[in-house]
Symmetry: D2
Subunit: 256 residues, 4 copies
């Protein structure tokens, strides 16, 4: 049976990334408290394609994924990146794994337990030298109270849910839980899944006493990341779904 993909290509154009995109897959990821956690990922896998090759072999990506999964860890991603280069005759390979992640969080006063959901993304790339570049990303909901609205109003202050997206490169392994905690401490107040009335009172007052612009949120996160020797690069953005507008307020800082 003829292998069209294996034919020689004469256009003399290297392809940077070719592969599969938006494949859903059940995975398990490391969970600091419980050892591991089951979740469902959306996965992209790409390699480069030399100028002389007509096409890549799409089925091999999924076969390598079948070997990688269900456990997804930096080690497993590293292995898969090498397998991709080897079995697809590529010089570079890329994996992106996006998934919801859950952490049990107790309400601040009643201690009622609830599961908070976050969105996480692990990205790994391996180049010709075999060095692997990892980026960890978390998307964390926070509550923000507007400092201006509080300052100028006789009572109350507009507030809203916002979403903070934090990506980092690091020297040694960093827990998703720590990235999330860093973000949650930087909003006006945290977000919970279960809140009894005593908790709602606490959170309302806590947030009101801790007003933050999107500018404040990204700066407070950036300060901590700049002080952290383990972080070699970061990008942080905050988007507030403004309660007084039908658009978002947005701020973004990237390191160096």
């Amino acid at each position: 049976m003829k292998d069209t993909q294996n034919q020689r290509d004469y256009r003399n154009i290297t392809i940077d990334k070719v592969g599969i995109k938006n494949l859903r897959y059940p995975i398990t990821v490391l969970d600091r408290r419980n050892g591991c956690q089951n979740t469902v990922a959306t996965i992209n896998m790409y390699v480069d394609l030399p100028h002389e090759c007509k096409g890549t072999h799409m089925s091999r990506f999924v076969e390598i994924l079948n070997l990688l999964c269900p456990e997804v860890s930096l080690k497993k991603i590293s292995d898969a990146l090498e397998q991709m280069k080897k079995h697809l005759n590529a010089a570079s390979s890329h994996i992106e794994v996006t998934f919801p992640y859950f952490i049990e969080k107790k309400a601040p006063v009643s201690r009622s337990p609830g599961l908070m959901d976050y969105t996480c993304k692990l990205t790994g790339s391996s180049g010709p030298d075999g060095k692997i570049d990892f980026v960890s990303e978390v998307i964390v909901p926070v509550s923000s109270v507007c400092p201006c609205s509080k300052e100028i109003s006789e009572a109350g202050a507009h507030n809203q849910r916002g979403e903070v997206r934090l990506s980092i490169r690091f020297k040694k392994f960093i827990w998703i839980e720590d990235m999330i905690k860093l973000v949650e401490k930087s909003g006006s107040s945290e977000v919970y899944s279960v809140l009894k009335r005593v908790d709602e009172k606490y959170i309302t007052e806590y947030g009101f006493n801790n007003p933050k612009f999107v500018e404040d949120i990204v700066r407070d996160i950036a300060i901590k990341l700049k002080e952290d020797d383990n972080v070699t690069w970061f990008s942080v953005s905050a988007e507030n779904f403004e309660s007084i507008h039908n658009h978002s307020a947005y701020a973004h800082i990237a390191s160096g």
Copy 2:
């Protein structure tokens, strides 16, 4: 050239709706203030298919749409519904037109002008008797301040953007503007695109003095609709993107 769609079907199964879905199209709609407004719609068009017909003729839907557009009005939709029944040999026809709609709104104190965006949907169906059933829907952003949070907290109250979805059937034509206004008056405060500091102060205080649960929002809208002789049916839901949770609070009322 053989017409596969025109073949006889022997499965003896009538199809309720068949046609085209998610077609983007530039349209103009009636605008109370400016006469008409340009926008971009996503359009669905369906007819029924008798049990003896193998398939409908998809290209005719778009041809009828080309005749209908760009002006979309209840009259134009009625005409298109009849054209669909005629040219597709159908007993019933359905059109759904969803589009963003813009209204200039001045900030409450500074009177700074800005354009607010809403999402609207017009649905028309024509049955075998030729009677046309219209439903008008608007999706309107509002701001809501939590009555419980205000009551129990020493200062502040959590608030957030919410989305109210109102659908109505009516006896005589009703302006989108009036449906939107009805909804906007029923939140804790309205949402604007431009707010200067004097406006932000006004809105913060206004909302704080007017706390509303999702339950309150749908009830206050339902009261007004029940009193309106022109409204023969309604469905109203409110979804608050809670600033203290990562999920929504939701309430829904449908008439009779």
Copy 3:
């Protein structure tokens, strides 16, 4: 601490549904082959609210969910629906659980294994009489080859991925796997995650010999459902992401 929600309401308007929406939660569901399967759900939970009550108690929904989960089954949903009515003083309750579901599927010739992903939704409602109404829904990707294009063209035929949405009510428990299989047998050919060249040849030829309009897909599913005594109601729609258009072809049939 004052309980605002518990106050008496004088507007005399009953709310049909009030509760929480779009809460993400890790669950396990029954898996015919493996006993159970881990996945992540998006959950809505509502109750009615009598006209004399100002508000419901949102935190109780999540607390009941915490008791229900992680295992989600018809039995567990029934229990939760009763708990909701009891703890929220409601006459009716509703739960909607939407989640990706995975089934290992071997390629048709090479027998290469791969995981196919589907989207499923379980809906349960309990009324004043305590009778529970369940609806099971699956969204299944299929491949469809256009009969008209095949008939009129000298070679080839346009084809595309489509999505079939099947909802049913049933007398006795029905496996998600059986609903999915019924749908997959009704497209031009099935969709797989891993296909080697021998499989791609098989599927291409199989689909080409089995052309189907969206009309054919929903009719072939409807025929089988009408013959099944266990199915008391169904709704089936097929949406083809047409490869020759930038819109979809769509067909829908609902029983009685």
Copy 4:
């Protein structure tokens, strides 16, 4: 009234981008055939914020947008970028405008007219030196027939809709229409909104005789862009919504 945003900030952290995001706005854009075209945009506007400023002034972004719109052109974007720097005391400014764009396209044989919809994005950035960097992007649907499937199968070949995303930087103005045309010529066949049977036959056969992998599509576009002196940078990706899988095939090339 106190101006919280104007306070001095002591964290010593410059913010790269701060502003408004996801604001819907009706605009008009240049249309080669008709002079101008009405559409609806989603707009982001950002400036940098010096380390000593606590916050930016969000309302000024919308006020500048009100002056810019409705006509959006490279000239108008340039003006707005300068206004943003001036009125927000910023060293750099950014505008992103995303909108559907429509072109009348006649069916290839019957010449039946129809409107095709594309998604376009204009991005402009102005730095401290006042030089403006523009990027034009189009997202264009195409049809692709799989060369491997055609080669190995006795009849037929799987095909599907795909989406090509092309971004370019250029020396002198380039029409959206030309970018779209370049992409449409690089798929297996073009996509239309109205196709009569004679057209469907033509397109099916044309595509079948012109099979393309995602790799072929991005390479054929890259070749033409490399030959075009007016193009100073490009990025092109193709994503095929595979009709035999539930995931996409993807390829990407960026220049230099």
